[in-house]
Structure formats: C-alpha cells, structure tokens
C-alpha cells in the first residue's frame, strides 16, 4: 500500500487577501465602481472636514463644563450632593464585590466602569467631582479585592442588589424632616433612575403577561391579552399624561403618589406590554416536547415552565429584550412632557438661559453622546451575554 495519495491532506484554498488586493477587488474592479468610489471619497472628505472644522474651531464647548453639574443632577440642591455620592459609593461596593465573586462579564463591566472613573480623574473637572470619583474608584477596587473568590457571599450580594433600590430612593429623598422633593431630581440622575426602575420592573411583569396570554385559564388569558393590546395601542406620552393628570383625580386627597413614582409606573406598565410580546415570541419557539418531557419526569406545569421553557425562551429573545431596554432608556426623555427634568429636558432648559442661546448643536450633541454611550454599553453587554450563553450554538 505505497500509493496513498488519496489520504494526503488537502489544504483549503487561500481566501485571505491583503488590504490593497481587497481595495482592488471591491472598490476599483470596474470603471464605474472606480468613479463611484472616488465620488464617495470626495463626499466623505468634505463631510469630515466640515464636521471637524466645526468641532474644533467654531463650536463653543464652554456651555458643557459650565452646565455639567446641572446636566448631571438637575436642580438637586448642591449642599445635599453628598447623598448622590453615598448612593454611588454603595453601588461601587456592590459592583466591586460582584466582580470579585462572579468572573466573566461582571468583571468586564466593572473594569470598564473603573477605567471610566480613571478617565474622569484625568480630565479637567472641578476638584470636588474628581475627589468623589477618586473615592468611588478606590471603593470599587477595594471591594473587588475583598470579594475575590468569596463564593459563599453570593446570596448576600444578591440581597444587597435588591436592597440597593430602596436604599437609593431613600438616600436621594432623605428621611425624617429633612427631605428633598423629587421635583428637584433631574438630569442624568433622573434619567438613570427612571430607566433602571423601568427595566428592572417591566421584565418580570412582561414575563407574567406573556405566560398569562398563553394560559389555559380563559380569565387570565383574556385579561393579559386585553392589557397588552390596549397598552400597545396607546402612545407612551398619552400614558404619561394619564398617570400625571388622571391618577391624582382618582386617588383620595390625602394619599398622592409622587410625580416621579407616577412616571416610573407609567414607563413600567408601558414597557411590560412590549416585553410580554417579546417573551411570548420566545415561548412559541419552544417545542411542546420540552414540556411533555418535563412533565413525564414528574415536574408540575409551573416547574416545567420555570426550569425548562423560560430559560430557553428568554435566551432565544435576548436581542429583542435588550432592544426593548434600549428603547425604554431613550423613552425616558418623554417625561419632560409632564414637567420632569430628565437629561434632555435639562439640556433644553440650559438653552433657555440667555447666556447660552444659539448653542443647541453643542448641547444636543453632548446629550446625544451620553445617550449613545449608555445604549451602546447595553447593546455590547447583551452581545457578551449571548456569547456566554452560547446563543445559536445549540
């Protein structure tokens, strides 16, 4: 058996190309493609030159540092700003501990936030801002070091995250006689709180509604369907208005919900309807054999849903769910319509100041950049989660 040519390894054809070859093959392969490529290059050159010239020579960026504080926290009283700092310190402890205990994604996020802190330290912000950032970053690093490999702390850290919400609200609002009205909350602070609450609350509600819509019990199915279809048929602005104007009329005089709380409820209820439809899409993708197999080993129907159907269904619709979260984050800007001063609302009120008239482009670009940073981070995290869970692999 000398003649073994058929067992010789055959290498796949070389498909790699150098950049020059790529350009030649894709942009300059025919005479009309060459013309189009040249025209596009000229166009891009003028656009970039225009933008860069404006950014570096014509734009008046003074408006941003001068209003950075109000863009961050709105009209929140300056002498109470330590409350915001304490909230950030608390979150830094939790985040640091989590990053120490869970590796992978949590650690990546934490490192990214730590780097952000370091960058703020190096930028020419006010001394007090840099001082707070330094403390927060140090707390983050120390709790990370403490939390390393403390696997038996997991439960307590989760409890900590759950408690972080009431803690944040209480810290910011103050307790006892010395309180800060939520009408003074604003800027990025308000945007983040509204978005965080909306995201955390709409998710379980959406899952319940999705399960309800597929329920065998007609009453539950009917209520869920009517809720989802009604809410989806109404614009968010209308729901915010209703929460703002109608809710106080229905409630008794002594007990009135805070305006910010009402906005939170409206955002949550609105997103939950969309979330429900996203989750339902995932539920429908799971073959009935999965529930049958779970029931055949004796699992009750609720347990079959919890352990078998939901994990697979949610994994399948992570992109849609994160899309919903991103959309909710941006939708928080609509609360300015009921008089709350979120990031965008504050930006507009800055422009109302005669010192800064005519600087819309600068302010809106900056606000847009902030929105972009947060939404891009969410999108990136979702891609990481998908990769970690092996979505599309099995």
């Amino acid at each position: 058996m000398e003649n073994l040519t058929f067992t010789q390894e055959v290498k796949p054809p070389d498909t790699k190309k150098g950049p020059v070859k790529w350009l030649k093959d894709n942009l300059f392969n025919t005479w009309y493609n060459t013309i189009l490529s040249c025209l596009a290059l000229v166009f891009l050159f003028f656009v970039f030159r225009g933008v860069l010239t404006w950014v570096f020579t014509q734009a008046n960026w003074e408006v941003i540092p001068a209003n950075l504080q109000i863009l961050s926290i709105g009209p929140y009283p300056l002498e109470q700003i330590w409350r915001v700092s304490y909230v950030i310190y608390g979150l830094a402890v939790l985040l640091g501990l989590s990053a120490g205990i869970w590796d992978g994604l949590t650690r990546q996020i934490t490192v990214a936030i730590g780097c952000l802190g370091a960058i703020i330290l190096l930028l020419p912000f006010e001394i007090s801002v840099r001082e707070q950032t330094l403390i927060a970053t140090v707390i983050l690093a120390v709790s990370f070091a403490i939390g390393r490999n403390k696997h038996n702390w997991k439960r307590w850290v989760v409890v900590g995250w759950v408690l972080s919400f009431p803690w944040t609200m209480m810290m910011l609002h103050g307790f006892g006689g010395d309180t800060i009205s939520t009408t003074l909350w604003g800027g990025l602070l308000l945007t983040l709180i509204l978005a965080a609450v909306g995201i955390v609350a709409c998710f379980p509600l959406g899952v319940l509604l999705a399960l309800g819509r597929r329920s065998q019990l007609p009453a539950i199915r009917w209520v869920s369907t009517v809720y989802i279809e009604t809410v989806r048929g109404v614009p968010l602005i209308a729901i915010l208005f209703m929460g703002n104007v109608l809710l106080p009329i229905f409630m008794s005089g002594d007990f009135q919900l805070d305006k910010v709380i009402r906005a939170m409820i409206a955002l949550t209820l609105f997103s939950a309807a969309y979330m429900a439809e996203n989750v339902r899409g995932g539920l429908q993708a799971i073959p009935s054999g999965q529930v049958e197999a779970a029931q055949a080993v004796g699992l009750t129907y609720p347990k079959a849903i919890l352990f078998i159907v939901l994990p697979q269904a949610l994994r399948a619709v992570i992109p849609a769910i994160v899309g919903q979260f991103i959309s909710l984050f941006k939708d928080t800007s609509l609360v300015s319509i009921i008089g709350l001063l979120d990031l965008l609302g504050i930006g507009r009120s800055v422009l109302g100041n005669t010192d800064w008239t005519g600087l819309q482009t600068e302010v809106f670009l900056f606000v847009g950049l902030i929105y972009f940073i947060f939404t891009y981070a969410m999108s990136h995290v979702s891609q990481q989660i998908e990769a970690d869970l092996g979505v599309g692999k099995y």
Binding site: G289, A294, Q295, A296, V297, L299, T300, F307, Q312, Y394
Partner: protein, 253 residues
Amino acid sequence: MTENENTTNDPIIICEDVHKWFDDFHVLKGITTTFKKGEKAVICGPSGSGKSTFIRTINRLEEHQRGTIIVDGIELSNDLRNINLIRQEVGMVFQQFNLFPHLTNIKNITLGPIQVRKMSKNAAEEAALALLERMDIADQAYKYPAEISGGQQQRVAIARALAMEPKIMLFDEPTSALDPEMISEVLDVMRELAHSGMTMLVVTHEMGFAREVADRIMFFDEGVVIEEAPPADFFDNPQHERTKLFISQTLQH
C-alpha cells in the same frame, strides 16, 4: 423465549374501554387490556393507528375521554395530584429524545430527582453517574445534548427516565429518529432493562427486538387492538388478514 422469567401475575396497568377523540377523529375506540408487573409488551401497527396516543394516555400526556385507566392502583382522573403521582411511577422515552438542550446531560437526569423526589444534589448526581455508567456513556455526563450523537442522546433520555426509579417504562418509537448504526446501541440498553424486570410498553417497528424481548405483541389498527399474541404466535401464525399484510410488509426488508 416467549414468557419472561420476571413476569408476575399482579396487574399494574388496567385499561377498560379507553376512548379518545382528536376533535371529531376517533383515535382510540375502546381499548381494554391489562399489563402485568414485569411484562414487556410491544405495540405495533401502521402510522395513525393510535398506538402512540395509547401509551401517552398511560401517563396522561393525552387525556382519555371515556373508560378508565388504573396505573399501580391509582385511577387517572383530572385530579392533578394523581397525575403527578403516576408520572413519578411511569418513565417515558420519546421518539425525538426531547432532552433539555440548555442543561448538561447530567443535569437533564438530576432535574427530576432533585425537584420532584427532593433528593439532595450530591445523591442525585451520584445516582445519575451510575445510570450513565450503566448506559455506557459516563464520559458524556458534562457535555450538552447537542454535543453527542443521537444514540447517546437517546440513552441519556433513558437514563433521565430511569433516574425517577419508575415502575413502568413507556417507549414511544425510541429508535425511529436514529441513524441505522445507532439503533442497536439503544436496543441493547432496552434489552438489558427488560432483563432487569422492568415493566415495559414499547411502541416500535423493530420486529427483531419484539420477537426477542416481548411477552406479548399488540397490533393496533384504526384505534382498536385487532390482534394480540406472544411473539411466536404473532409472527408465525397471525390470525387476522390485516396482521398478515403488516407482517409480510415489515419483514420484507
């Protein structure tokens, strides 16, 4: 060997005039039969004859609409507690395996014992590893179902059913979705299980397996049992014309 040495005379499944409709379609038209503890029954028949539906009524994956089914002394009714009790006693293996793709093989097996039998995680894993050893796939314990072959997946599915320590095992065409070379590894495991004394109801087209292992072969057609007999009689001396046709067609290849 026709009569298995493990078969007893105690009835474990009693079916009385079982009827089932899918909308207007009459799938089961009055099935009356008794399975004894330790008995191996092979159920065959053309597709659409109601054989799968029949074994799915035994653990209530399908609800029967008339008649009674008593499994291990418990009557199947709409009482959820009864259904859950019976499902703990009756293991099932599906044509499409129906493993849980998001769980490793060992977690597929331990889920039932931990959640239903309230076993500790360690004890459940130990038992699961022993079962995988018995199925000859202990090295696949920590892989995901999608990472192993069809024959291995079906053996994990058998281990998952056995982990609940059932008294009865239902097999719904367990080899029909497998490549030909993987059929024998699954049949070997089922043969071993049969010799261990398990009560087994097997829907299958594997006539060689049926002849070797079964105590009784039931032939279904259009929702009724038209012939049932020990394998020797069934294959060599079929009474009914429909059975003769079926046997001649299945044994041709």
